[in-house]
């Protein structure tokens, strides 16, 4: 077997959809975030805490890197030694990218993380044994481990605060890995409603918690398979294809004048989140 043959087969294998059913037949969920309209306000992050029963860990555990924010806002400065950051800062909302060829899915010893037919990277809490290999492999570092048993930890959910918990989302106990799910509980509910009415989920009918909260509408979410959906039109307008590591537009001379890109695309994980570059006015 030649090396070329091996590489080709490997490439096919990497992209082979683990689920036997026709993948992306009806749905392929994807997200896009416009970094020019994202203001870094953190509304999305707090909304995610509310929707997905995220525990608040407190200062000490935060210091140990044990925070649990599924959606975090990274803040970057320009790296050119100017006296002031006179073109502002850069905010980047980062969450599980639901990679089509996810590095985390292949390494779980317990098979707790898989790829669904509608294009999500699933995390099954009751299968997870806590090896943490998946988070070691994740290039985006968006997987969070329950180092403690938060349901029984003091002041995480005291007294009446347990009543705020969302019954559609498991409350995780110690030893379990968790991450952004694209609000799968909302997707499941929307798909069930649509199925009862004999149709597919319409564009805009289901929103993730972060998208729903975002005051500037920087987040767009939807079904990439439906050509009339806003997300599909956006990805198409930006000429970003899901299962490609080098986009055609980037090979043009001088680079592309379109804003859409994915992070660490060269790692060939095929993330389902597209970012739109932040713009800075040249006239000022």
């Amino acid at each position: 077997m030649s090396v070329t043959n091996l590489l080709e087969n490997w490439s096919q294998f990497r992209q082979a959809h683990p689920v036997g059913d026709a993948p992306h037949a009806e749905y392929k969920w994807a997200l896009s975030i416009d970094l020019d309209t994202c203001t870094g306000c953190n509304a999305c992050s707090v909304a995610c805490y509310a929707e997905n029963n995220l525990p608040v860990v407190g200062k000490e555990k935060y210091d140990a890197g044990q925070m649990m924010h599924w959606m975090r806002i990274e803040r970057y400065w320009d790296e050119d030694d100017r006296e002031f950051p006179d073109q502002g800062a850069q905010f980047l909302p980062m969450m599980c990218q639901h990679c089509e060829a996810a590095p985390c899915e292949t390494v779980c010893p317990a098979g707790a993380t898989n790829h669904t037919a509608d294009g999500l990277n699933s995390q099954i809490y009751n299968r997870c044994v806590g090896s943490r290999y998946c988070s070691a492999n994740c290039p985006f570092k968006v997987r969070y481990f329950n180092w403690y048993d938060y349901p029984t930890t003091e002041n995480v959910w005291p007294a009446e605060m347990t009543q705020q918990l969302n019954p559609d989302v498991s409350v995780r106990s110690k030893g379990v890995m968790e991450k952004c799910t694209f609000c799968v509980q909302r997707l499941t509910a929307a798909k069930s409603t649509a199925r009862s009415e004999g149709r597919l989920v319409r564009d805009g009918e289901v929103q993730t918690a972060c998208q729903q909260a975002c005051p500037t509408n920087a987040i767009t979410f939807g079904n990439l398979v439906e050509p009339e959906s806003k997300i599909a039109k956006q990805w198409a307008a930006q000429q970003v294809e899901l299962a490609r590591e080098g986009q055609a537009k980037d090979e043009e001379a001088g680079g592309s004048d379109l804003r859409g890109y994915r992070i660490f695309e060269e790692l060939r994980a095929y993330p389902s989140v597209m970012y739109l570059e932040r713009v800075r006015e040249s006239a000022i």
Binding site: N114, L120, T181
Partner: protein
């Protein structure tokens, strides 16, 4: 060198025996007869009286206490089953809706207890008979839609498949294992999509459909 080898063999041996021991001793999730425990409810609700088959003698002489049931459809009380993930225990007003006019049984002890709750506007603390772990998501609506609406099967057959022959019970008692393997055994079968179609599908086998 020898010391190293001895240590490795010792450790490996301990590991193997520990594993074997654990496999022997670990408790199976499900009891031998797949039957749930007897659950004591605040009021011993007789499903047989309500959902059970009619006894022809009852129609002949309505003045005597009924021997048979009234063949009430499961969905009359468990209304949420066709439109929600939960089947739901019926609200108190569902019971009272009929019973407030039924003078023949008004003074019986269980009905009296019912009205005590009603007058106090207090919900009856029914105990949960069919429990699933909190990380499992089961959707009644989808199953009813597929089998009753889609395939035209009878309510008794469909509800009974998982809940057993409730119409012959007083308080409900779990009849099937409800363990994952048991659910998956049905999901792996191919069922017709609806009553007229030749197309078949099996149930979802994607973990996230049922685990949340």
């Amino acid at each position: 060198m020898h010391r190293f080898l001895r240590l490795s063999v010792l450790l490996l041996g301990s590991f193997i025996s520990a594993t074997l021991y654990a496999a022997e001793v670990s408790q199976p999730l499900v009891t031998a007869d797949d039957l749930g425990p007897k659950v004591e409810q605040p009021i011993e609700f007789p499903h047989n009286r309500h959902a059970g088959l009619r006894d022809p003698a009852d129609a002949a002489d309505p003045s005597k206490p009924a021997k048979g049931g009234m063949e009430i459809d499961c969905r009359y009380c468990h209304t949420a089953a066709r439109r929600s993930a939960n089947a739901a225990i019926p609200p108190l007003q569902k019971c009272v809706g009929c019973h407030q006019t039924m003078n023949s049984v008004r003074e019986t002890p269980r009905i009296q207890k019912l009205f005590e709750y009603w007058d106090a506007k207090k919900a009856i603390p029914w105990k949960k008979v069919h429990d699933l772990p909190d990380f499992v998501r089961f959707n009644h609506e989808r199953h009813l839609k597929r089998f009753i609406d889609g395939q035209g099967k009878s309510v008794q057959e469909v509800c009974g498949y998982c809940h057993g022959d409730v119409k012959n019970m007083t308080v409900a008692r779990r009849q099937k294992s409800l363990a994952m393997g048991w659910c998956v055994s049905c999901h792996e079968k191919d069922h017709p999509v609806d009553a007229t179609s030749t197309k078949t599908t099996h149930g979802p086998n994607d973990c996230w459909q049922c685990h949340k």
